[in-house]
């Protein structure tokens, strides 16, 4: 997650001090990725060092206000324009665990898959319930203009993202289970599964690692 670019984007909106930035970030993303204030100030120091922000006096209560520079604005524009790079698949503990479970003797892979599927389903149920609650809250204030409505919409998008990625995880588990069942059936019939020739990950897709 780019805290650096997120804070910069918020400063493009208007000059703010550290606690305000943290509050704005968490409100717009539903407190999903909590920031600690030390992280915020360290990031602001680096942004200042790189001439992307500058100190802009204080608010009269001792809070140092930061504002964005022209170079900072260019950086934000570039960030929004560039796709999020997935050059390295993020380390996925579940994919690693399943890869090891599949290749080590004495591990009940089906049980590993089912335990994870139950846990992921519970998570999905919780996200879905929060999505419904957030959705009806948003409907109640729909028509209301202003930053409050936009922040609610942002929170709905974040929740949808969590729902869809959890769904993807369950689908992937279903896929692993089906694939294992096919291999077991083929083994019973004495058919050798096709030899895999390529084990190097060339496409940034975690699912590919295990299925090859």
């Amino acid at each position: 997650m780019s805290i650096r670019h997120s804070l910069l984007a918020l400063l493009q909106d208007e000059p703010r001090y550290g606690y305000q930035l943290r509050g704005e970030f968490e409100e717009r993303t539903g407190s999903t990725w909590p920031l600690n204030i030390g992280q915020v100030y360290t990031t602001l120091d680096r942004l200042e060092r790189d001439a992307l922000v500058e100190k802009d006096g204080d608010d009269g209560e001792g809070h140092v206000i930061y504002s964005i520079t022209a170079a900072g604005r260019a950086e934000v524009t570039g960030w929004f324009a560039a796709p999020v790079a997935a050059t390295n698949p993020p380390r996925n503990e579940l994919a690693i665990k399943l890869a090891l479970a599949l290749t080590l003797d004495g591990v009940d892979v089906a049980a590993v898959i089912q335990a994870q599927r139950s846990a992921s389903m519970r998570l999905l149920q919780d996200y879905t319930r929060q999505r419904r609650a957030a959705g009806s809250a948003a409907r109640e204030i729909s028509g209301a203009q202003g930053p409050g409505g936009a922040n609610d919409a942002a929170w709905l998008l974040v929740l949808d993202s969590l729902i869809f990625s959890t769904e993807a995880e369950v689908r992937w588990l279903d896929h692993c289970e089906g694939w294992m069942a096919q291999r077991a059936a083929a083994a019973r019939k004495g058919v050798r599964p096709a030899a895999s020739s390529q084990r190097t990950l060339t496409v940034p897709s975690v699912g590919t690692v295990v299925s090859q």
Binding site: A119, R129, A181
Partner: protein, 241 residues
């Protein structure tokens, strides 16, 4: 928890005999209460649809017993079973099963009229059900004048008409886009909150996420269940996993 609407006690269903016999369900025990929304998941051939047809009295168990609101279905005559289905059980089929020569309202009113309810009253109940699924204004349309999503809503209205207590839905969001599918799930969720027991068969995890409880079937057996913990801190822990 309130009263039990659906109970499966040691239910098995075997198709065929001898060496070619196929066990679709094996000794399944499941209780679903009023106000509860349960999703049934599992791979193809795991017994999901068999479970639903047995629960709806469309098929008979080879062993064990199915109870709907305490009534054992095994002892009912064909006519008694049909009456119970019309009054208490709403069934949403994957392919809608609507009558093309009837309007939306007539399709929804049909089971009520077959049950001897006067046409005018049945029609009023049909309008109520169509309003609940958000297409009251399409009541006089024929099926070929409606989109797939609208037809599916008619099918759901027919399943919930007359305040049925048990709603069984087999992949009801099948061919629908994600937003329309969510609308259907919202309706099913609403019926559960109004006190019905709802059983949703689905292979889509995101749809099962709407349920209070998810039952996993494999090779005809219930292998696991997932019930939401209602944990408000889930979002803080969900990503650190």
């Amino acid at each position: 928890m309130s009263s039990e609407v659906l109970q499966l006690e040691g239910v098995s269903r075997t198709y065929g005999e001898g060496a070619t016999a196929v066990a679709a369900l094996r000794n399944v025990n499941l209780t679903i209460h009023a106000g509860e929304f349960v999703a049934v998941m599992g791979p193809s051939g795991s017994g999901k649809s068999s479970l639903l047809t047995l629960a709806g009295g469309l098929d008979k168990a080879t062993a064990g017993e199915v109870f709907v609101e305490g009534t054992p279905l095994g002892g009912l005559s064909i006519n008694e079973l049909a009456r119970l289905r019309r009054r208490a059980v709403g069934y949403v089929f994957q392919d809608f099963n609507l009558v093309p020569s009837l309007t939306a309202a007539e399709n929804v009113a049909l089971p009520r009229e077959l049950d001897g309810i006067p046409a005018r009253k049945a029609r009023r109940q049909a309008k109520d059900a169509l309003r609940l699924v958000g297409i009251e204004d399409l009541a006089d349309r024929f099926m070929d004048q409606m989109s797939g999503g609208q037809q599916q809503r008619v099918a759901i209205a027919r399943a919930i008409v007359g305040q049925r207590r048990l709603i069984l839905a087999d992949e009801p969001t099948g061919a629908l886009d994600s937003a329309t599918g969510d609308g259907i799930l919202e309706v099913l969720r609403g019926r559960a909150e109004a006190g019905a027991a709802v059983v949703l068969v689905t292979h889509e995890a995101r749809h099962a996420g709407w349920a209070d409880r998810v039952v996993f079937l494999k090779d005809g057996r219930i292998v696991d269940e997932a019930a939401s913990q209602h944990d408000p801190s889930v979002l803080l822990t969900g990503l650190g996993r």
